[in-house]
């Protein structure tokens, strides 16, 4: 794992949580969507908060697929769950949502999970790993 790869994982955590917060802010502005008026969700994408949220979630997605190209799914997901702490802070201090002590404890437990995977190997299944190197080698050969 290089510093650049840790930066990509940090990007997944930060862009994801800030993007979700912007979507939440926007959807509260749009209001409840009735089960009888489901198409209203498509009009929600015109809200500036929603547009900003979607923009950040694109950045999240780019960082996420980049991480998946060199790490296991079961490494990337817990390693980036530190974003939930950030999300809880945004929810409490910016969106003014009620974050109960139970939820804080839940968020702490999720974060503890990060510690268990972060020290382990990022990639464990050899088959795809070899396929990946074969792919890169063939690309190198072409150029």
């Amino acid at each position: 794992m290089t510093f650049r790869k840790y930066l990509v994982l940090a990007g997944v955590a930060i862009f994801g949580s800030v993007g979700d917060s912007l979507l939440s802010r926007g959807m509260k502005e749009v209001g409840n969507i009735s089960i009888h008026n489901l198409q209203a969700v498509f009009f929600a994408v015109r809200d500036p908060w929603i547009i900003s949220g979607i923009f950040l979630l694109f950045a999240f997605f780019a960082a996420y697929v980049t991480a998946l190209s060199w790490a296991d799914l079961t490494y990337v997901l817990p390693a980036t769950s530190i974003g939930y702490v950030l999300l809880a802070l945004i929810a409490k201090f910016i969106l003014h949502e009620q974050v109960t002590p139970g939820r804080w404890l839940g968020i702490l437990l999720i974060t503890a999970g990060v510690g268990f995977v972060a020290g382990g190997p990022a990639l464990t299944h050899a088959h795809d790993h070899l396929a990946e190197h074969a792919e890169v080698a063939s690309v190198g050969g072409e150029s």
Binding site: L23, S24, L73, I107
Partner: protein
């Protein structure tokens, strides 16, 4: 009733996300290390390879379902419940799916992480 809608949305988001993540993981492993490809062939080649991969396209479709379900979920429930609950349940579902479908080595370390996250989710939902 609103509570039932929120949890219904969470269930749909989790199912669609696990499908999307597994497809995406498979596609990206086949594409190869994006950083190395980028240095050797440039950004456009990387983007072209990724966007043309059939599993990537299917993964995007599954994630689109998850995204619109997330919009519904966020309009019915708090972000500090919906977002961590869906993503954490997705993680637990992914641990099982990655082991069975992607043959990832989900060792003791990763199962402990899964249990911690599962407990965290239970507390978030309480």
């Amino acid at each position: 009733m609103k509570h039932a809608y929120t949890w219904g949305a969470i269930a749909v988001i989790v199912a669609a996300s696990v499908t999307g993540d597994v497809l995406m993981s498979r596609a990206m492993k086949q594409v190869g290390d994006v950083g190395e490809l980028w240095r050797k062939r440039g950004m456009l080649v990387v983007i072209g390879r990724v966007l043309r991969h059939p599993y990537f396209v299917l993964g995007i479709l599954a994630m689109a379902v998850a995204f619109f379900s997330l919009l519904f979920g966020l309009s019915w429930g708090d972000v500090s419940l919906v977002a961590p609950a869906t993503a954490s349940l997705t993680f637990v579902g992914n641990a099982a799916a990655a082991k069975v479908l992607r043959h990832e080595h989900v060792d003791q370390r990763r199962w402990i992480a899964a249990c911690l996250v599962a407990c965290g989710v239970a507390l978030l939902a309480a």
